[in-house]
Symmetry: C2
């Protein structure tokens, strides 16, 4: 799924809208987008934005990984990884070094400048977190962090790739008679 299809939140000032949208999806979306928006701003001058950040942090690890390894780990396409690394390399944040064991592959490593930037961005992100959670008191904040983390690790465990079919089918969709017949996977192409 391209992130393009993330639903836009009803952040309207209409009280009625809030009441109607006061479900988990709406609340999760508002909080998440708030975080993403601030994170985007923090990473505004980093090539590739948030995704560039993830690549950079991966490159800043102890063991240098190949492009493909990073791509697969982050779930980005090989071809996109090329563009991302081009920009990061141009900015002097990472370097492509030949893999001594495989002359096809390149090992990605962060430069000193890259390491310094990662450290700085991580500090700023920690502040963004605090700001997003500012509505909660200290103990509740910790409780929330704990709950989200538990949910995330569970999701990541049972559904690492993210197969949507599984989720819905598990949930017992069959019990609800669908009013519309379901020719699955046939998104219409809205003209043009």
């Amino acid at each position: 799924m391209s992130a393009t299809d993330v639903p836009i939140p009803a952040t309207g000032d209409d009280a009625c809208a809030q009441a109607l949208n006061a479900d988990l999806g709406w609340a999760l979306g508002v909080v998440f987008r708030s975080y993403v928006k601030a994170a985007n701003y923090v990473m505004d001058d980093l090539p590739g934005g948030p995704r560039g950040y993830q690549v950079l942090t991966t490159a800043a690890r102890a063991l240098p990984a190949t492009q493909l390894a990073i791509a697969q780990q982050l779930g980005v396409d090989r071809t996109v990884m090329t563009y991302l690394l081009d920009d990061l390399e141009h900015a002097g944040l990472i370097e492509r070094q030949p893999d001594p064991a495989d002359r096809r592959a390149r090992r990605i490593i962060a430069t000193d400048k890259g390491h310094a930037l990662v450290a700085d961005l991580q500090r700023q992100l920690r502040r963004v977190e605090d700001h997003v959670l500012s509505a909660l008191g200290e103990p509740e904040r910790d409780a929330f962090r704990d709950l989200v983390r538990r949910l995330a690790t569970q999701v990541d465990r049972v559904d690492p790739v993210g197969d949507p079919c599984q989720i819905v089918e598990d949930v017992g969709l069959g019990e609800t008679p669908a009013p519309t017949p379901r020719p699955r996977r046939t998104r219409s192409t809205t003209r043009r």
Copy 2:
């Protein structure tokens, strides 16, 4: 956001990656995307996907609203609203009726079929919620719902439009010396 800028999660099976990414942003992203993915699947045969659902639910309200009112409330562009409504109308879920008070405007109302579909989708979404929260016990689940909702309403209150500058500046970014000079708002256009 276009959701284009939603960062891709590190859902890799590498334990090291999880440790490194075990921050709030990562966890929020995994949980949110899990929900979105399932929601997308549920709304696969609904024209416009999740956004079409939001339009449809708005149209299913008691008071019929104009296209522009719905667009502003949902934060979607006027022009996109046209396409969305075209598809929804084609599917027989909504109708465009002339506004008696203003011959330029159209009042959007849901058909019987539209109302039935909304009810069905809401049922399915409630199941998706339960599935996403299945890692938690009953009391913790309620606690999580409560915490997210409180965070969301607070964010929606202090930052309804979602100005990213505010969030970061509030947070006291100035204390951290930026290693890179900051020509703000100058996202590079990565060639092509």
